[in-house]
Amino acid sequence: MSLAVQSAQLFLLAGIAFLAFGALVAAALVRLGGARISRWEPRARHRAIAMLAALPAASAVVLLFAASLPSLVALVAPALDHCPVHDDGHAHLCFVHLPKVGIHTGLVLSLVFLVSYAALRAVFAASSVVRAVRVVAALARTGEQRRDLGITIVETSQPVCFAAGLLRPRVLLSRGLFDALSPEERAVVLAHERAHVRRRDALVGSVVRAFAVVHLPWVGRWLVQELEVAAEQACDEEAAQLVTDRVSVAAAILTVERAAQHASERELAPVAVAFGARAVERRVEALLGEPEPPRSLRPLAISIGVVLVSALILADELHHLTESVLSVIAH
């Protein structure tokens, strides 16, 4: 096996180890602070969950860069090269001195399996997203464009309303729901969906779902569920600001939910639906209660900044620690 491939294997192994470290830190944060975060006001909660979701990937990138920093320095300043002090069997995480010994065959096979599995999941997820985007585009092309309202009317009696699309999201409202809602309820529904479009929730949600794959399964599920509820509640709050009445927004949610339930009972729903009230309950109860005060994420951002700078300052130590751990697990 060529030295370059052996080196790439070590870097990949280090990257996966850092990813796992970030996932464990995120799991600890969710276990310790998840319940508290769930009570934050929705906009701050949405941002905090997105940051938590990105933590493993971000820590893998930063820690791998920090651990590679001594080697990068040796590339531009050979006098600072420290590698000659190690023997040939050392797991060099280095661009100058490629490792003479490859990693264990079992680990190589595990890496190949992991990378193939992740690639396969990514392909399936991407194809599902592409199919959904195509369906939305077909609905938008063949629906009635209401430029005065900035929406597309879908010709069906099913009571549905949604914002859809990743890069150019749009609001689609069914004829059935358009006719069933009062002007006040329609204003709430459209304000809510326009908030999704303005906030680009579909794009953020898709990125968070992609990040969620590298978390522990229960953490990934929590992140996706909490992000969805936080996005819905943030849009409820924006709609409430527009109509200046939080109770009207709660009532509109229940009107649409009731209409969807009737459609489901009369088998007008497109496919069988699952039953669960958690999201609707949380949204309505939050709107009937007092609004949570805005929360600044500055302390969280400062803490992350301090950790990142510390990793760069401790690059030498991190480099040696990573090589020592790799020497133990790779050979």
Binding site: T156, P270, V273, A277
Partner: protein
Amino acid sequence: MNHLWSGGDGEAKAVHAALGKRRGITLNTIQSTLKRLFEKGLLERDKVSHAHVYRARVSRDDFHRGLLGELVGELMHGQAEAVVSAFVDLTERAGPEHLERLEALVAERRRKIERGPR
């Protein structure tokens, strides 16, 4: 499809005159698009003298209903949930007892607001 649903003439030349010239689409493209939609089962056609005359085989309502079904199926079984932000979930319904409890809470809050602060 929009042209045919709105009662437009279904001959390729007529479709080209109505849409193609304005949008810069050639007659060949119009013909092949109509043929593809026919093969997909969305259009049916009759041969009148030398030309095919197309008409919609499914109504706009049925077409949209089918697309929504496809979308919800994708949301339930695929990874596309984040692409769609529905006002209320498309794939999950609150049970009747939950809904009644929440409606009672909203009605109670409205009564309180109407009575005003004491």
